[in-house]
């Protein structure tokens, strides 16, 4: 092994038990935890005491839970299975019992542990092989097919234009966003109107105030409608006065006398 060996090879360096008891997250699932506990028995996996292993696992989970550390469901399922395994191992099976014997269950567990360990070892051997780009190298300056690559990609002008048009069109509502003023909310209209009227005590037609906005066809209607509605509201609240001398004549507005100087209405 050397410095470039990936971290995981040093998987579980002899942890001391204190660390072990809180570090459930350090394990990749219940089988990993069991394998680690099994290794602590320092015997060949085939000669391991499954009963002792089950007890250690159950103790571990119990301790962790006492410390109110949340344990993933996988671990609890395994705990339940091991508790059952333990009971099967301790009570001799009756010949009529249809359930698998404790010995069968123990063999199953041993098999799974051995298989996981074998796969780990295999992964380690694999990763320690002379690997391409590290110990073994391909041609550093490949020459093949350099010329054809330019033509490898296909797209027609139509595709290109279609893609562009679609994109731009899709973005249009966002472009509209800039002009969204074209709908005046009542609150906006009210604010604009109050600002325009200011402290003016003279009768001025609404159209004159809105002159700047009415010139813009996008805004004409909404400016007129919202301002009118707001002017009614402002009049009702006593901020301004309204006058219209003839039907369809200009709507005149002025600030109410006792409102002078309080643009924001008390």
């Amino acid at each position: 092994m050397n410095s470039t060996t990936p971290d995981w090879l040093a998987v579980h360096p002899a942890r001391d038990d204190e660390v072990l008891y809180v570090d459930v997250d350090g394990y990749e699932g219940p089988l990993d935890l069991l394998l680690d506990l099994a290794r602590r028995q320092k015997v060949d996996l085939s000669r391991i005491s499954v009963l002792a292993l089950a007890e250690q696992y159950l103790d571990f989970i119990e301790t962790v839970r006492e410390k109110r550390i949340e344990v993933a469901a996988d671990y609890l399922v395994m705990a339940a299975w091991l508790a059952y395994l333990k009971s099967r191992l301790m009570v001799p099976a009756l010949p009529s019992d249809p359930e698998p014997t404790g010995e069968m269950m123990a063999a199953l567990l041993q098999f799974r542990l051995a298989r996981l360990e074998a796969m780990r070892r295999a992964a380690m051997q694999l990763v320690n092989r002379p690997r391409l780009g590290r110990e073994v190298h391909a041609r550093g300056q490949p020459e093949a097919f350099r010329f054809e690559r330019r033509h490898q990609f296909e797209a027609s002008l139509y595709d290109l234009l279609k893609a562009y048009a679609t994109q731009r069109e899709k973005a249009v509502p966002q472009d509209y966003h800039l002009f969204e003023r074209s709908v005046w909310s009542l609150a906006e209209a009210r604010e604009i109107l109050q600002r325009l009227i200011g402290d003016s005590m003279d009768w001025v037609p609404l159209d004159t105030y809105l002159d700047h906005y009415l010139g813009n066809p996008d805004q004409r209607r909404t400016a007129m409608a919202s301002s009118f509605a707001s002017s009614l509201e402002l009049a009702r609240q006593g901020h301004i006065e309204l006058r219209q001398t003839l039907s369809f004549g200009p709507l005149l507005l002025r600030r109410r006398r006792d409102e002078t100087g309080t643009g924001d209405g008390k």
Binding site: T4, P6, D7, W8, V11, E28, G29, P30, L31, D32, L34, D74, M78, M104, A107, L108, F111, R112, A114, R115, L116, A118, M119, R120, R121, A122, A123, Q125, L126, V127, R129, P130, R131, L132, G133, R134, E135, V136, H137, A138, R139, P142, E143, A144, F145
Partner: protein, 220 residues
């Protein structure tokens, strides 16, 4: 290429073919198949025999001809590895979970995600398989003909190339694992010990759907 006398036509043609193969394989960073090579050679050339001869010529060289699955490539000799050792800084190091998953796929292929999880005893995050697919070492092979039609995974030729294996039979410790029955995905160990298999689809595998992205719940 002057270690053999030539002058008669067939040998001249063979020499030329050898030169072409040498140039092609030297020029390409990725292994080439016999078919790909054949299209550059004279009609009816015996590619396998030519590759064999080329391999002999480069035996003991600093660069050797190697077989990777059904493909061939020149690679620097393994025994020079300590001299040529380069740290791969660009490639991210695989997580432990990913390496374990890779090994399980390699030794148990074709393997479904559930089978990998069964060996590891823990649910794999989707990310692990994605990362492995990104390395180019693992591919989706097809779908298992069982309820849910889970995707089956296997290794690629890039996998063989990266780890310097001629074929899956070169996987380290394969014989031992086979002997101990540890390659079984079924429990308890079945009598018939399966071998990793990266050939065409098996009887219990369906091809992937077009545009299959490996979501485990495929439409039946």
């Amino acid at each position: 290429m002057i270690d053999e006398p030539f002058g008669d036509e067939p040998s001249q043609i063979a020499e030329r073919n050898l030169r072409v193969i040498e140039a092609l394989l030297f020029a390409s960073a990725d292994p080439l198949s016999a078919d790909e090579i054949a299209s550059y050679l004279s009609e009816g050339a015996d590619v396998a025999a030519l590759l064999g001869r080329l391999g002999e010529r480069f035996q003991g060289h600093g660069v050797e001809l190697v077989r990777r699955g059904d493909r061939w490539a020149f690679r620097t000799a393994e025994d020079l590895s300590f001299l040529l050792r380069r740290e791969q800084t660009e490639t991210r190091q695989l997580s432990r979970a990913a390496l374990e998953t890779l090994a399980i796929i390699a030794y148990h292929q074709p393997a479904t995600r559930a089978e990998v999880e069964e060996v590891r005893g823990v649910a794999s995050g989707g990310g692990t398989f994605d990362v492995l697919m990104q390395t180019g070492w693992v591919r989706m092979r097809g779908r298992r003909r069982t309820p849910g039609r889970p995707v089956t995974y296997g290794t690629t030729e890039a996998f063989l190339d990266h780890f310097g294996l001629e074929s899956l039979g070169d996987l380290p410790g394969l014989d031992e694992l086979k002997g101990s029955g540890l390659l079984s995905s079924r429990l308890p160990p079945a009598f018939q010990v399966p071998l990793p298999f990266d050939g065409p689809l098996r009887d219990d595998e369906d091809p992937l759907d077009p545009d299959d992205r490996g979501d485990d719940e495929a439409a039946p």
